[in-house]
């Protein structure tokens, strides 16, 4: 409760490098200079134009890439494996769609994103006022780690594929570099989301930690109290400490009376209590003197001195304000979470669709490649099992990390209710129970659940379902592939047989019946293909 609230460090301060990078490659349109000076995200017309230009450039380049590499796919089309070809065709543009979704949503949200971080800053200030400090420093570290990981993965996949699997004697093969752009841009965008989500999770955890601190402090206070009750020596301290309960009950009586007059205005009477509280509390001899210098994350500098343990929980009215504020902050963080989820809902949906499809397709193409079948040229990385593993780790890592973080955040928000109740139980005070019950109902109602456009919630159970889906689709795909292969082999062997039979038939004038035989054999070969 310092007299001048010092500015809390805005969260965006940690985003310097990330913003610069995203600005350059065209993930975010916001103003760079304003971000540098004031750490705010503001709309910028130039940025928008730049970003649209980049988007158009990427789309053009990517189309060029597809066109230039489509030569190789002619053979694929010729060699009949329709299933592989159709899957390849279907997934050609999915990376581009994902990237375009990210960029277009970023364009639409350019104003709202700034507001979001401003709201987080306000929350930080409020938390600071409640003496619960959030440490932002590890966020910068996280961003750096994620960036480095992204670049390593992208470069590794790109270079190994280029060296191993692309014919780099032609200068047009340099276009292969473009193939990494969509995933890179998508990852940058997702780093923004992941880090902001992580920041929210930290806020929730800070609230929980504050509540738990209250509990442990009160426990200490109680042991101190019972210890003193036995010893006759610190009698003065004892008498002064029994004062708060008495004063509490006085207030409680007041409170009850007001409540008795008008049950509906229970909260209103709380306001009156707040007015009374400071005066009453200042009578307490050492209450304030310890309170003011205490820093948020060091509970008590002098734990075992012969000094009174001050517990905020013994003073219901005062703690009511604090709990109320914490709950409001919790509510606000939940709202921010919802808003953030809304901003990124389409990109996340497209990412999840991308992850699911690419994971399945990559495994399927890997299977095809091990069977020496030709695969679409854009998925040539599947020809090498090692590169495939890296690609899969990269793609699934992105999706799973987001899902895991959302799950953890939502759990952390649920945890607050439990911590709040612990405060009530440990203090064991009627007034506090009423406060806690009221706030707990409130907390039960604001839960934050992250979802992708409402299609599915982002939690681990979804992951379980998706992994099951991937396996079953893979099995089905492989079976179809097997069946098609068998059919093709049969046709081929029959063709050779047919040729010889034709030769024989030509000799013995048996040719007219061989065609009916051909029909018969093909139908019999084709039908059991899938049983």
């Amino acid at each position: 409760m310092s007299q001048v609230t010092p500015m809390v460090q805005p969260l965006l301060l940690q985003f310097q490098q990330l913003f610069f990078l995203s600005k350059v490659v065209g993930v975010l349109p916001q103003d760079l200079t304003k971000f540098r000076h004031k750490n705010v995200l503001e709309k910028s017309r130039n940025g928008m134009i730049y970003m649209l230009g980049m988007l158009a450039l990427y789309v053009g380049l990517y189309n060029l890439l597809i066109y230039s590499f489509s030569e190789e796919d002619r053979t694929l089309k010729a060699t009949q494996s329709t299933l592989t070809f159709v899957i390849g065709l279907f997934l050609t543009y999915i990376g581009l769609i994902m990237m375009a979704t990210d960029q277009v949503t970023a364009l639409f949200n350019q104003g709202k994103l700034g507001e979001l971080y401003e709201r987080i800053r306000v929350v930080d200030e409020r938390l600071y006022r409640e003496q619960c400090l959030v440490n932002n420093s590890c966020i910068a570290k996280r961003i750096r780690i994620m960036l480095v990981m992204t670049i390593i993965f992208e470069l590794f996949i790109l270079l190994t594929t280029y060296i191993e699997l692309v014919d780099y004697t032609q200068w047009l093969s340099l276009l292969w570099m473009v193939s990494a752009i969509p995933t890179f841009i998508n990852t940058l965008d997702k780093i923004w989301f992941a880090v902001s989500l992580f920041a929210l999770k930290e806020r929730f955890e800070a609230i929980n930690a504050t509540l738990e601190d209250l509990v442990t402090e009160h426990e200490k206070f109680q042991t101190w109290l019972t210890g003193d009750a036995d010893a006759p020596e610190p009698h003065t301290a004892d008498s002064s400490e029994t004062q708060p309960p008495q004063y509490d009950s006085n207030l409680e009586y007041l409170y009850k009376e007001l409540g008795g007059i008008d049950i509906g205005s229970l909260r209103g009477s709380g306001g009156k209590n707040n007015k009374v509280a400071p005066i009453a509390h200042s009578l307490n001899s050492f209450g304030e003197s310890i309170q003011t210098p205490r820093k948020p994350h060091q509970p008590n500098p002098n734990p075992m001195m012969n000094m009174a343990h001050e517990s905020e929980l013994s003073n219901a009215t005062k703690v009511e304000e604090k709990l109320n504020n914490l709950c409001q902050v919790h509510d606000e963080i939940c709202e921010i979470g919802k808003a953030m989820n809304g901003l990124w809902s389409y990109p996340i949906l497209s990412l999840m669709a991308y992850g699911f499809l690419i994971f399945t397709a990559q495994l399927y193409f890997l299977y095809c490649a091990t069977r020496a079948q030709s695969i679409p040229s854009l998925f040539r990385s599947a020809k090498n099992p090692f590169i495939t593993v890296i690609v899969l780790v990269y793609t699934s890592g992105k999706c799973i990390y987001l899902i895991y973080l959302s799950w953890k955040t939502s759990l952390a928000s649920k945890r607050t209710g439990i911590s709040l109740h612990k405060c009530g139980v440990v203090a064991d005070d009627n007034l506090l129970y009423e406060i806690v019950n009221h706030l707990s109902l409130k907390l039960l109602n604001h839960s934050v659940d992250f979802s992708a456009c409402g299609f599915f919630t982002l939690d681990m159970e979804t992951l379980y379902g998706v992994s099951g889906g991937i396996t079953s689709y893979l099995i089905i795909l492989i079976q179809f592939n097997l069946a098609a292969q068998q059919a093709k082999d049969a046709i081929q062997s029959f063709n050779s047989f047919n040729d010889t039979a034709g030769l024989v038939g030509a000799a013995t004038e048996f040719g007219n019946e061989s065609s009916t035989l051909y029909d018969l054999v093909t139908t019999t070969m084709m039908t059991p293909s899938n049983y």
Binding site: P245, K414, N437, S440, Y531
Partner: protein
């Protein structure tokens, strides 16, 4: 029984020796946890790199046998490596933590039992039911049979080198099952504590029912506390002791009431100063409360705290063992599916033709059965613990509905109970036994796996094995 399992898990290096002491020889404790994985990895790599001592490299092992054996071996490697890594990561800290928390909980439970006079019934809590012993016997016999079968077949095949293929075939599944056994043990301990709490809650509930009748008017305006104290000793057998203990208490009350009037005149209110008395009583007479409070509702705050603590303990336990559940359940799933597949598509048709093939298919079936039994017990116990914790909230609601005497004229108890039930709602949303959130460990998991297994089986059973079997010369 638990001891046997603990020794076993120490012997094969899944939990550290001396897990209860924090200060003991570091090297000695973890040496077993390092030797066994090294041994395992040596056999695994030896078989896969040098192509010796493995079933797939025998001459009379056909392609089906080779495929299924490789699958079994690699699946086992995946299971064992994840399990051992997580066990190494857990180290001793968890066991020490668990025991200290459990001891704390037990102390409070003992105190509450003394207050609620449930002490005499304690002897029956220790006694286990027939089902318990039967389950243990069953599980042990199943495991012994599985291990015996595998080692005998391998000994017949490889002679004295049988230990090497045994390390890669049965050992990983054994290790995984034993870790699940540890999980089972910890969950059963938690479940047991929940049951004890429920008994205590039930006691309060019964008393509330009895006490509903003698509700009288005489001291409604003076003291709520007296009501809750007075009627109980009358119905209790140990009346004399209770009256004895009540005498000082009554005197205390009288004294306090005498001291009150000046205050009450200040406030111009008679009733609501009760809470203040309660507060003073709670703070100062906390130690004396044990003797004077012969009624069990005095337990309520302690019980609420206990419930909270046990739930916190289950969160820790689940955090430690949940991740190990995931590979185990996955392995169980795969082994069961392929067990059914091999049994129906291969063994029915060509059993008795090739000894090695029979051995591999039977191995699948045996281990699928064993792992399924263990998985079922895990799910059952987790479900039980969940239900027990839910039941406490139900009982508290029942008590609240009966409006027992101690709740009248005193909002504190009402608010306390309401707070408890609300907190339980929060807990319900926050925690359930689960495998890192992927699935909840209860009966719904069985349903989902069975449905998934069915669809996979439908796909798998469509594979046409006859041509392969014909190629191997097993079928004509």
């Amino acid at each position: 029984m638990i001891q046997v399992m603990n020794w076993l898990s120490m012997a094969i290096g899944l939990i550290p020796l001396n897990r209860q002491q924090l200060q003991s020889n570091f090297m000695l404790d973890y040496v077993m946890m390092l030797i066994m994985p090294c041994l395992y990895l040596a056999s695994y790599l030896g078989i896969n790199l040098f192509h010796r001592f493995g079933l797939p490299f025998l001459d009379d092992c056909n392609s089906v046998c080779r495929l299924s054996n490789n699958l079994f071996m690699h699946l086992g490697a995946f299971l064992y490596v994840t399990v051992i890594l997580l066990s190494l990561y857990r180290r001793k800290q968890f066991f020490v933590d668990f025991e200290t928390r459990l001891a704390e909980i037990d102390v409070i439970i003992q105190k509450c039992r003394r207050v609620a006079e449930l002490d005499k019934m304690r002897s029956q809590a220790v006694k286990h039911s027939v089902a318990y012993h039967f389950t243990w016997l069953f599980v042990f016999s199943v495991f012994i049979f599985a291990l015996y079968y595998d080692s005998r077949e391998l000994y017949l095949t490889f002679g004295e080198y049988a230990i090497i293929p045994f390390m890669v075939s049965s050992f990983p599944y054994l290790a995984g099952s034993i870790i699940q056994g540890e999980f089972i043990y910890h969950v059963s301990v938690i479940s047991n504590r929940f049951e004890q709490i429920n008994k205590l809650f039930e006691k309060i509930n019964q008393e509330a029912r009895h006490r509903h009748a003698p509700l009288t008017v005489f001291d409604i305006e003076s003291e709520g506390k007296k009501q809750e104290l007075k009627p109980t000793p009358a119905e209790k057998a140990a009346a004399t002791k209770a009256i004895f203990s009540n005498e000082p208490k009554l005197a205390d009350e009288l004294k306090r009431q005498k001291a009150q009037p000046p205050k009450q005149e200040d406030e111009d209110e008679l009733n609501t100063s009760d809470e203040e008395d309660d507060d003073i009583f709670d703070y100062n007479d906390g130690m004396m409360g044990e003797n004077t409070d012969s009624t069990s509702e005095a337990n309520l705050p302690d019980l609420f705290k206990l419930h909270d603590k046990i739930l916190a303990l289950s969160v820790i336990t689940n955090g430690e063992f949940g991740p190990q559940c995931v590979p185990y359940m996955a392995a169980c799933f795969v082994v069961s599916i392929f067990g059914i597949f091999l049994e129906t598509k291969v063994n029915f048709i060509v059993s008795g033709k090739s000894r090695l093939l029979d051995y591999v298919t039977y191995l699948y079936v045996i281990w699928s059965f064993t792992t399924m039994v263990v998985a079922y017990i895990v799910l059952r116990l987790c479900c039980n613990a969940n239900n027990h914790s839910k039941q406490s909230a139900m009982i508290v609601h029942e008590i609240m509905q009966k409006k027992p005497a101690f709740m009248l004229s005193n909002d504190l108890f009402y608010n306390k109970m309401k707070s408890f039930t609300l907190q339980f709602l929060h807990w319900e949303g926050y925690f359930q036994f689960n495998g890192i959130g992927l699935f909840a460990l209860d009966y719904t998991f069985i349903f989902s796996t069975v449905s998934a297994a069915t669809s996979y089986l439908i796909v798998l059973l469509q594979f046409d094995m006859t041509s392969i079997l014909r190629n191997e010369g097993l079928m004509t």
